[in-house]
Structure formats: C-alpha cells, structure tokens
C-alpha cells in the first residue's frame, strides 16, 4: 500500500505517541507504586495558593536534610495501617528491604526543607478558597490534611489523592457546600 506524505504522518504520530507515552508513564507511576499517606501543611501563606493548585509541604518533623541543599536525599518511611511509624534517611532507593522501609521516597533539600516533587495539587477554581483554608488549618478551619502518594521502587512519588479529615477532598467539599446552604 502506497502511503502518501509519510513524513507528515510520522510527524503527527510522533506528537500524539509522545503525549500518550507521557500519560502512560504518569499513570503507571501513580498506580504501580507503594501507597503512602503523608500529613501535609502549608508553609507560606502567600504562596499556598497559586493559580489553581495548592502548594504545601510534607509534614516531616524529623530532620532528614544532611545539608540545606542536598540532592538527592532518600527518606525511609515505615508505615502500618496508613499510619507513619517512623521516618529516617537511607543511602539509596534500593535499600527498602534491609531497612524495613514501607517505601523510600526520593527528593532533595531546598533551604533545609525536604521536597519530593509532590508539593502541588490541582484544584477546581471554584473550590480553591475552601481547600486553601482547610490545608492552612487556621483556627476554626483547622483540618487534618493528608496526601496519598504512590512511591515506585526508584523512590519517585506520584500524587494520588488529597485527604481532608480522612475523606477525599471531593467529599469534604460536598459536605461543606451542603452545610453552607
């Protein structure tokens, strides 16, 4: 079969396949890794909401940063029943079994704070203020906010869900909206 304009077809297919591959890779990262639930907290009220995504930091109380700008840093998370028991550092992502880690999270330290590339969650425009207040957790708006992430065996994490008071954020928004009415 004589296909005309093969170059054009290849150019079009390349774009579509590249996007499909990116989608597949992100989906694989999200569903194939070990699920870990991390508490989160806002760290800078001015930057907490930027555009239509929430920014926050993982609430890690332990000092996991060997230096203010270390890269990479591997954090060993020991978790049972979605409760984090301990957090420490290890040398690499393939030391999970010998250290008894549920997952090893790869990130870097920026200004002494551990960053894993999961500090952003896209939210619909109309609920951004409500979620912003919940994640910041000031006064009567104080909520238990957690992030469900999926960590693969290289330590790279993908965001799965945002939990507010142990519920997916959509349920929280629905109940708050119904309460407000």
């Amino acid at each position: 079969m004589n296909i005309k304009h093969k170059g054009l077809l290849l150019a079009l297919a390349f774009s579509v396949l590249a996007l499909a591959a990116l989608t597949g890779y992100k989906a694989f990262k999200m569903y194939a890794g070990v699920e870990v639930v991390f508490p989160i907290t806002g760290y800078d009220p001015r930057d907490l909401l930027s555009g239509h995504y929430l920014t926050y930091r993982l609430d890690i109380k332990e000092d996991v940063c060997p230096g203010p700008n270390a890269d990479p840093v591997f954090v060993c998370v020991v978790q049972r029943n979605r409760e984090i028991l301990s957090i420490g550092t290890v040398e690499s992502a393939d030391r999970r079994a010998e250290n008894g880690c549920s997952a090893i999270l790869r990130g870097r330290c920026r200004g002494g704070r551990f960053v894993a590339g999961v500090e952003r969650y896209y939210v619909p425009e109309q609920h951004s203020s409500l979620l912003d207040r919940a994640v910041r957790g000031w006064g009567e708006n104080a909520r238990q906010t957690e992030l469900v992430i999926s960590v693969d065996r290289n330590g790279r994490a993908a965001v799965k869900e945002l939990l507010i008071d142990n519920r997916p954020w959509r349920e929280f928004v629905k109940s708050e909206t119904a309460r407000a009415r």
């Binding site: 774009s15 996007l19 499909a20 590339g117 609920h127 965001v159």
Partner: protein, 396 residues
C-alpha cells in the same frame, strides 16, 4: 530553495526577465490571486485560531471537577487525532492555509494536553520542562509548515522556554551563579541579551543553509536582531551601574561566540558586509562585559555618574547603533535604518545632558556635533566610491 531565490537567480543569469520572475513568484504563492489579500486572510485566520486555542487551554486550566479525568484525557486525544486527520487531508488537497491553521491549532492543543496531563496527575516540575517537552514533540510538524506561522510559533516557544529556564531558581544558571541556589542576580541579567543574540543568530545561520528551515532562519534572525538591540541598550546601562556580571554568567557566551561567528562568517548566501557588521556587533556586545572583568581598575568608576563612564557608555551605544544602522542599510531595510539613526540622535542628546547638565552647553555641543555629522555624511557620500574601492583592494 525558496521560489524567490530561485527566480532571482534565473533573472541574474538572464534566463527570464524580472517581470516574469515576479509573475512566477506571485503565481506560486497565490495561484494568480492578489498576494496581499492572501497574506491578510492568512494572518487573520491564524490569529483567530490562536485565540480559540488559548480559550481551550483556559477551559482546561479551570479544571472542571464534574468531568472525569479519563474523559478529559480521552477527549484531548480524540481532538488531536481529529486535527491530525484534518492536517493530512489539507496536505492531500494541497490547501496551504488550512494546513497551517490546523497545524497551529494542533501545536497549541499539544501544549494544552501537556498541561492537562500535568493537572490530572498533579505532576510537579517546572514550566520550562513542560515547554521543552512540548517543543520537542511539535518540532517535526513545525518544520512542515507551509508558511511562516508554525515555525514562528515554535521559535517564540523556544525563547519562552529559554527565559523561564534562566529565571528559574532551580536552573543551571542559578546553581552556577550562586551556591545557595537563590534567584539569578540582577547584574547577571545584563549578560542575557547578548547570550540570547548569540545563540539565536547561530541558529539563524544554521537554519539558513537548509531550505526546509527557511522560516526558522527568518524568525531566529528577527529575534536575534531584537536581542542585539536590547544588548546595546543593556551594555549602555551597564556602564552606569555599580554591579558587575559574574564570570560564570558569561560562560555560555564564550561557547556561543566562536560558534556564532564561524557560522555567520561562513554563511554562503549572505553579503560579506552583512556578515562582518553582524560579527563586529556581537563581538562588541560581549566586550562590554569582558573589559570591566579584565581591567577592573580602568572601569572602577561605574555607577558613580563619572563623566568618563558616561562617555564610554555613549561611545559604545552610538558605535553599535551606527553599525546596526549600516547593517539595515546593507539589507536595504530603509525604515529600520532611519529608526536606528533616530535612536543614535536621541543618544547624542542624552549624553550631552548627562555630561553638561546645562541647556546652554548642551545646545552648543549638539550644534557642533550636528555639524560634524552633516560634514561627515556629505564627505562620505562624495568619497564613497573611492572608499569602497580601497576597502575591496584591502580584502583581496
């Protein structure tokens, strides 16, 4: 090779008359119809489809929670497939404007889909990473554009990627300049225009050698000249501030300067005067920053309103402005030549005010300078044939 170049070569060889050449060009572009009406139609249709595409991106950015994410992604890919089919159809039917319109929408839709993927999977990462990915996946299609818009869009995207990368605190630039990875220092930003000019003009020169990349060459050349103009301004201002660009900020310039000069000077179909003028401009643009680093004592009056530094700044910008004016004259771009001469005139005015700070002396200085310019211009005009003959003997 573009049809205009082919026909001008045929005219030069005496194969066809110039009128026949112009008729051939008109026919190739328009099928005999008025060229201007085609250009206007093309421009407005492209504008409309860009506005539509940006509107679609905005709809995606609103992140409608009522639409399941799988459906959002499915619709995005189906739209891409549909647009791809339309582009292929336009190619089969030889519909150039439709091809470019659909290609533009496809290219912008690829950007929107990249943003959608980021939204659906809550990916972190920096904007320049997403832009670089987008540029890579749409480059082949941009090269196949029938007219100028798809390559223009790609070149603008590349510039946007470059600047978002440079200004990002996680980028190589910030890591090189500061060990604590804070933001790029303001002084180092002075070097950015000349670095931009170097790599864009290098790419312009490289693309000019391949007929398929002609529109890329034109766009890189345009933005390179804009960067040169901004570099002249930046260099002028640099001599009046007391900050110094770091050596590290010039490393890309050290890499790009020899590459750009080699590419420009060896370009086959450009006039020798054009190449030399451009090369000198780029060299001067870099010297502005190298000289204070190499001779710090000689340049220690910067930022203190010293007359010496002000005169140096003016000398640099007027000389560079003059070279740019000549460059445009050689390219027969009369409007830009006049614009540069006006800017040079304004710079003359500014320097006199800076140095004398007095209307009377400024006026006297301007009268004398103006007379010198007029006498110089008339003398040059009268002696031009002799000067050109001498210059040609020199380079033989």
């Amino acid at each position: 090779m573009k049809i205009e170049k082919k026909t001008s070569r045929w005219v030069e060889e005496g194969l066809i008359s110039s009128e026949q050449g112009q008729r051939i060009v008109d026919f190739e572009y328009t099928g005999g119809k008025s060229r201007w009406s085609q250009i206007i139609l093309y421009s407005f249709v492209i504008l409309g489809c860009c506005v539509v595409s940006i509107g679609l991106v905005s709809l995606i950015a609103a992140n409608w929670e009522d639409i399941p994410e799988t459906l959002k992604l499915g619709v995005a890919f189906i739209a891409l497939a549909g647009l791809g089919g339309g582009i292929y159809w336009a190619q089969l039917r030889d519909r150039e404007i439709v091809f470019d319109v659909l290609s533009t929408i496809f290219i912008l839709w690829c950007l929107a889909t990249t943003g959608l993927i980021s939204q659906v999977f809550h990916t972190g990462g920096e904007p320049y990473e997403a832009l670089a990915f987008w540029l890579a996946i749409v480059l082949p299609l941009s090269c196949l554009g029938k007219r100028s818009f798809p390559p223009s869009l790609w070149v603008v995207g590349l510039l946007a990627t470059f600047f978002t990368w440079v200004l990002n605190e996680e980028s190589w630039w910030a890591k090189v300049f500061y060990s604590d990875a804070s933001n790029v220092a303001s002084a180092d930003l002075f070097a950015l225009p000349i670095i931009t000019a170097l790599w864009t003009l290098l790419l312009a020169s490289v693309c000019a050698r391949l007929s398929k990349l002609h529109y890329f060459a034109v766009n890189f050349s345009f933005w390179g000249l804009v960067a040169v103009l901004v570099a002249v301004l930046a260099g002028d201002i640099y001599y009046t501030v007391d900050e110094t660009v770091s050596q590290a900020s010039l490393y890309p310039a050290y890499l790009f300067l020899p590459l750009a000069l080699s590419a420009i000077l060896s370009q086959p179909d450009a006039k020798r005067r054009e190449k030399v003028l451009l090369s000198v401009l780029l060299f001067l643009g870099l010297m502005v920053y190298l000289l204070p680093l190499a001779l710090p004592r000689a340049f220690d009056g910067r930022g203190e309103n010293e007359v010496r530094m002000q005169l140096l700044a003016a000398t640099y910008s007027i000389t560079s402005g003059g070279l740019l004016a000549f460059y445009f004259a050689v390219r027969s771009n009369v409007r830009l030549f006049h614009a540069m001469t006006i800017l040079i005139g304004i710079r003359f005015l500014v320097i006199y005010f800076q140095v004398f700070e007095d209307l009377a002396y400024t006026g006297l200085g301007l009268v004398i300078s103006g007379l010198v310019i007029v006498i110089f211009a008339i003398t040059w005009y009268k002696l031009r044939p002799r000067i050109e003959a001498w210059a040609q003997e020199l380079v033989r």
